[in-house]
């Protein structure tokens, strides 16, 4: 092997280095083989004669492998103005039909089009799927005699049809009569795509309305609208009011160097308001967050204002006075003997957490923005002015744990005198939680 290497090396080197050191190399090829063999074989005539190098040059590692274009990919070239939308997609599909009458390669074209749908933003458009199914030649793939129907007639085309329907299923598009008619024309009634269509119609209708908390398909783009939708989604109390404490600055104003003006939208129900009014000013309340809420595919981060649980000895049971309702008693102390079969309660203490007083969605997650929220809340809850507020903001989102950064900001802020209080309160909290 070494002599072959030597010959190749000698030839390569002599041609490559050419006039520079040809005399030295041709004079002693063998002595130079061992130390330079790997280098020589790899970098042959790079600089001077790329065409006449004997060994192929491996590609440089920095260059990504070039993807071969699929067969009809040039039909999906972006339009002149670079936009990719439904019209361009439709035009590309129609161009294929004009490309050849016999529609050769339609299976590959349909797979390619399915892959390109997401770029063009048409993956949830039923008419586009119908158009794509229209690309199949009709009446050719229908089984005509019993032998066709025993075996899977035209299996690749049936798989392609199933792939189209499967992409519809993934994006939640319900097929309609046109789809059914097309499939019947193309594949016949007993084919697998038709069977899949029947199954889709059955299971989609069964599962269409099972979400008890439905979210609209088209989410609002405006952050304030999205925030109020998110807050209404979270708060089960229907009498709660959504308040916008701060609107975001319009984007086209020239002095946007300071992005502190983000939107702050909050929600509070009347019950929470009264609970906050009754809250003991000795105990601090906490601003916790940010927690994530997903609405379909958009994530909204929210913060909550809550207090810790009172220890059992300090909890008061509210007694409704008897005169509150003269028509029937509000409390009945009847001791009916309930046997074991009538007990529907679970034998476990549920997790109890402190009351939540308000929820807000803000653009930024720092203390300044949340302080503005608290100030906005003070207008409807004057009791908040006397209660110390502690900010428990976790750095990472998605975890419901209190974490490190705790700062105190009571509304008139003298920090020194309050620090001892804060320490004792923290110790209290550690003891409680």
């Amino acid at each position: 092997m070494s002599w072959a290497q030597a010959i190749l090396l000698a030839r390569g080197l002599s041609r490559g280095w050419g006039g520079i050191c040809s005399t030295a190399l041709t004079g002693a090829p063998f002595s130079q083989v061992p130390p330079q063999a790997p280098r020589g074989l790899r970098c042959s005539a790079v600089a001077h004669n790329p065409d006449s190098s004997l060994v192929p040059r491996p590609p440089e590692p920095s260059r990504r492998p070039v993807k071969a274009l699929a067969v009809h990919e040039e039909l999906f070239r972006p339009a002149l103005d670079g936009t990719r939308d439904k019209a361009n997609f439709v035009r590309a599909v129609q161009n294929f039909a004009e490309y050849n009458v016999h529609k050769r390669g339609h299976v590959d074209f349909i797979y390619l089009a399915l892959r390109k749908m997401r770029e063009y933003g048409v993956e949830r458009d039923l008419s586009v799927y119908n158009l794509l199914l229209d690309v199949f030649p009709k009446e050719v793939f229908r089984p005509r005699n019993i032998f066709h129907s025993i075996f899977i007639h035209y299996p690749r085309q049936q798989e392609c049809g199933i792939a189209v329907l499967e992409q519809m299923e993934n994006h939640g598009v319900m097929p309609n009569n046109e789809t059914e008619f097309l499939l019947m024309q193309i594949f016949g009634r007993k084919s697998y795509p038709m069977l899949k269509l029947v199954r889709m119609k059955l299971w989609f209708t069964r599962f269409k309305n099972i979400n008890p908390f439905p979210v609209p398909r088209d989410l609002p783009q405006d952050p304030v609208d999205l925030a109020s939708l998110a807050l209404r989604h979270m708060e089960p109390d229907l009498s709660a009011r959504v308040t916008t404490y701060q609107m975001p600055l319009p984007k086209d104003s020239p002095d946007t160097m300071d992005p502190t003006e983000t939107h702050i939208v909050g929600i509070q129900s009347p019950e929470q308001q009264s609970a906050l009014a009754r809250h003991d000013p000795v105990r601090p309340i906490f601003v916790e967050g940010p927690f994530s809420l997903w609405l379909r595919d958009k994530c909204v981060y929210y913060h909550i204002l809550r207090a810790d649980l009172l220890p059992p000895e300090e909890r008061e049971v509210e007694e409704i006075p008897e005169e509150w309702n003269l028509y029937y008693p509000m409390q009945l102390d009847l001791t009916y003997g309930r046997s074991g079969w009538d007990d529907y309660k679970f034998n476990i203490d549920e997790v109890e957490e402190g009351p939540v007083f308000a929820i807000c969605v803000a653009g930024a997650h720092d203390q300044a923005t949340l302080a503005k929220w608290i100030q906005g809340l003070q207008e409807t809850n004057p009791a908040l002015a006397r209660i110390p507020v502690v900010f428990r903001l976790s750095g990472s989102s998605g975890e419901l744990l209190a974490s490190s950064s705790e700062l105190e900001e009571p509304p008139p802020p003298p920090p020194e005198g309050q620090e001892e209080e804060e320490d004792s309160q923290q110790r209290q909290q550690q003891g409680q939680s």
């Binding site: 199954r199 908390f213 927690f291 074991g340 476990i348």
Partner: protein, 328 residues
């Protein structure tokens, strides 16, 4: 020490082989060399990819704080393990368990008097109040097929709930056969009796599943599986969806057992039948909603109860078009 480690490895390997006949003869294994246990968890290393049955159910997600049970350890730890002593303790534990089991059989089903079991209307099956409760669950994600989702399970705030959190990524693995990816799952371990006999839950007196959860708005899927050692039932499960509301309030989710639909190998079957409640092996939660991003789910407890207002037996009827054989 290396020898001990190897022997421990050896026992673990023997245990992990799928042997369905083990279920029926627990006293068969008097031979010590054959005997293996899995409650002997801490110092044993997972032997690798040769055991496809348990691969997907194994503890593949390791939170860096090691709060879920370890399966990989270094041989330098814990030098005071003695093989014989450990085996003896294990055997004693199993015999004790067997004795309790026999005694409980005389008291009543599951060790409680019969009238109590018959009249029970609400039962807590899994609760999350301590670390041992977390050991009854395993978490998996699509890392097993080469995806990029991560999922972790730990105790929640105040040790009063379990927090399942992580990141979902629907980037498909480039292995030439998977087109889609992106799922995370938390599955309960199968109930074991003495000598690792498989036990199942009997919920035939109840008709609704009750979960107290706090999520982030994502839709989850609840799967119930029966005994999966039978080869025909390996991939079958009954599922339904659990929609979380999101927000800071705890949410009660009640799913009647009549709503669970049957699926095999991940596809809904045409022939649907009711979930049989008397031999339930495990329950699981899956998240696969094709949206990339972080997620979390906090679970307080899982229970079953009888909803007297729910009279439906089965929610899905079979259609003659899809199942002509059922209607002959």
């Amino acid at each position: 020490m290396a020898l001990v480690h190897k022997l421990l490895n050896g026992t673990y390997i023997l245990r992990k082989c799928p042997k369905p006949r083990v279920v029926f003869c627990p006293f068969w294994r008097t031979h010590f060399a054959d005997y293996c246990s899995s409650s002997f968890q801490k110092p044993v290393a997972a032997p690798g990819k040769a055991y496809s049955q348990r691969k997907t159910k194994g503890n593949l997600e390791e939170h860096h704080q090691r709060e879920v049970a370890l399966e990989i350890t270094s041989p330098e730890d814990k030098p005071e393990i003695s093989f014989d002593k450990a085996i003896k303790e294990e055997m004693k534990g199993h015999f004790r368990h067997l004795k309790d089991d026999i005694v409980n059989y005389w008291i009543g089903p599951e060790g409680r008097p019969l009238h109590e079991v018959l009249m029970e209307q609400a039962k807590v099956v899994w609760q999350f109040r301590s670390k041992e409760d977390l050991d009854k669950w395993t978490v998996t994600s699509d890392k097993t097929i080469g995806g990029r989702s991560e999922v972790f399970l730990k105790m929640g705030r105040n040790n009063q709930s379990a927090l399942l959190y992580g990141t979902l990524s629907s980037e498909a693995p480039q292995d030439g056969e998977s087109g889609r990816s992106g799922y995370c799952a938390m599955v309960s371990k199968i109930l074991r009796g003495p000598f690792e006999m498989k036990r199942s839950y009997d919920w035939s007196h109840f008709n609704t599943l009750y979960l107290r959860v706090r999520g982030d708005g994502r839709p989850w899927m609840v799967n119930i599986r029966e005994d999966t050692d039978i080869i025909q039932r390996k991939d079958q499960m009954y599922s339904y969806f659990m929609f979380t509301r999101g927000g800071p309030y705890w949410q009660e989710v009640k799913i009647p057992f009549s709503k669970f639909f049957f699926s095999n190998q991940g596809r809904i079957r045409d022939a649907q039948y009711q979930l049989p409640l008397d031999k339930i092996s495990s329950i699981g939660f899956t998240l696969a909603d094709k949206v990339d991003g972080p997620f979390f789910l906090e679970i307080d407890f899982i229970g079953v109860f009888t909803d007297p207002a729910h009279t439906e037996e089965f929610a899905y009827e079979n259609s003659p078009e899809l199942n002509p054989r059922l209607f002959k």
